[in-house]
């Protein structure tokens, strides 16, 4: 891979005295889609949060674009768009208002047409755009949050289970979107337990179990990663 945009080196995280992340080592290059695959409680969300400074490493380093989360978290946050596991936006604002507000916090002023374009990309139905988010379904909120992450136009995207709650058509569209973004140079780090989705978009998949990477899969000859192989390893790891 060319340059390391996201890197973990001997990264450990302790939460309430438990080793949640245990000696993680990986790097993600520019334009690469990296998926961390793992079961519930494997430490996927915690890993992502470490790169956002929401959780502090107990040892080792996590860095984004050469900046360490310990030292330059505010700069990192301005370069990273984060899609949280459960979408938390404001119920008292409409989808568009939510996006406008959070973009303004990031210092970005997007014109209405761009926002509408992003909402179309994530296929949020038009009649919902000006409704309060409190009236949205889970999937609609997810789409809004994805649109927000896209509009940040950040070089790095950290996505926590981005397709959860989406219907199959939306998942397909999302996967396409991710591929397009990666081709245009965005670095994408997603965590998921959706084996199929990961195999569709990821250049590499790391298998996470109890805070450790227990397997790595890579595209060979530009073909998608073999879903059977990953699935077998995933199930095995879980039984173990």
């Amino acid at each position: 891979m060319p340059d390391q945009v996201v890197a973990a080196s001997s990264l450990c995280v302790k939460l309430a005295q438990n080793d949640v992340i245990d000696n993680l080592n990986f790097t993600i290059g520019r334009g690469e889609v990296f998926a961390l695959l793992g079961g519930n409680g494997a430490g996927k969300s915690t890993t992502l949060k470490t790169f956002l400074g929401a959780v502090s490493p107990s040892s080792g380093t996590a860095s984004v674009m050469g900046l360490s989360v310990d030292a330059d978290i505010n700069t990192i946050r301005s370069k990273v768009a984060y899609l949280p596991e459960s979408v938390m936006l404001y119920g008292h604002l409409t989808g568009i208002e939510n996006i406008e507000y959070f973009l303004s916090l990031a210092g970005i002023k997007q014109a209405q047409p761009e926002i509408e374009e992003a909402l179309t990309k994530v296929s949020l139905q038009t009649d919902a755009w000006h409704k309060n988010l409190s009236h949205y379904s889970k999937g609609m909120r997810q789409k809004t949050a994805i649109a927000l992450a896209l509009l940040r136009e950040a070089p790095v995207l950290l996505l926590d289970e981005p397709t959860s709650g989406l219907d199959p058509r939306a998942i397909d569209e999302f996967n396409q979107l991710i591929t397009t973004l990666a081709n245009s140079g965005s670095t994408i780090f997603m965590v998921t337990h959706d084996v199929y989705g990961a195999c569709q978009v990821a250049h590499r998949i790391g298998l996470l179990d109890k805070g450790k990477i227990v397997g790595m899969f890579e595209r060979k000859n530009n073909a998608h990663i073999d879903i059977e192989e990953v699935h077998a390893a995933f199930s095995q790891g879980k039984i173990k």
Partner: protein
Amino acid sequence: MNATKQIMLDEWRYWQRTKLATTVIFIGVVLTLASVVVNTIEVRQAADERKHFQQVSESRFLEQPDRHPHRMVHYGHYVFRAPSPLSMIEPGVDAYTGTSIFLEGHRQNSATFADQRQSSGLTRFSSLSPAFLMQVLVPLLMILVGYACITREKEAGTLNIMLTQGVKKREVLTGKFLALVGSGLLVLLPLALASIWASVTGESIIVTTGFVVGYFLYILIWGAIVLWVSTFSSRKNTSFASLICLWIALCILIPRISSSTAASIVPSPGKLEADFAVLEELRKLGDGHNASDPAFNQLKANLLAKHNVNDIADLPVNFRGVVAEYSEEKLTKVLNQFAEIRMQEEVSQAEIARHFGWLSPTVSIRTFSMMMAGTNLETHHRFLREAEALRYEFIQSLNHVHQHKLDYHTDINRYRDDVVARVDAGNWNILSSFSFEPQPGMARLHQSLLYSLQLLFWCIVTLLLIKRASRRMEQ
């Protein structure tokens, strides 16, 4: 800076959409506005009434026919002090002490016509003075509006989303703080307008500016307290409960404790007890109406010797008038002595109570507000002293008339039908006009210095608390 502004604006938008906060702010503004208007009318009316009353009593005094001068000593008259322009906002001690005094011989009447005792109907609303609303109610409104400003975002998880947009904690806190302070300032607006009006109607600009700045600081302090609690609490409910407890402690309990502590440290005898003590002292002086009271023997002897005569009837002055003047002087000395002791006690108590401003910003602003408005205890005491000086001068001029204008022989036979023991009504023209001047602005500012320091102290303490809470603000 931009993020801060956005966060502030969003908080306001949230209040608008959820209605509760806007309703609370609206009620606050209407209440202060109404209280400012009612109090202004009330103070004006009371002032006009008293002025009229004073004029009537003065002209009645002057219209009295030829009389025995001592009858006029008992007739007496009123003085009153014009309310300070800011007393429509901060009635201070005036509400309890009153602003008019009846001046008569042999007695020091305490000030009368306190608003609290007069109030009825519409005027009862005036006990909700704008100052009281600002000091006690506005903190409560700010709590209702802002208790969840941070905890809400924590519970919903939106705080994290904000932070992951690259917003700094400091910007989040500042934005919320400004939004909160803004709500307080809306409620302060009627009071600020009334203060401007006060400077138009003659109050010193230094005073009105200082007054408004004091309340501004108070709002900053409460904004900071609300934000602080909301920052360190993890749930909305705990934040609300903690803030209500703080409000009860700072706005209700500590002010009460301050006065009861002061009263127990500097015990003051009850009114009855004090009155008996005065009577006891006065009894030793002899009765000024009875010139043959043995208490005046020495006076008589000295006077006879001085004029080298053997009988008081031969004195060039009316001995009964001399006795009246002499005994008034002695009596006034005793009365003043007791009055000074009582005022000293009151001041010591007030000073102890004011130190509680280090424990509650409500006590600080209350003291500061009264000092600036000129409705503090010391000003009232000055009024009592000036009124007493006037009373003494007025009584002694009547006694002077008694001595020189009424013949002793006529005087002692005043009850006989064929004797007319009176002096000409022209002698009643002795009332000097009384005008109570407020202290200059700089002097009031100077007296309030300690209390503005208390307010600044609170600003710093609460800001430091926020700083500390933000460091361990969970993400």
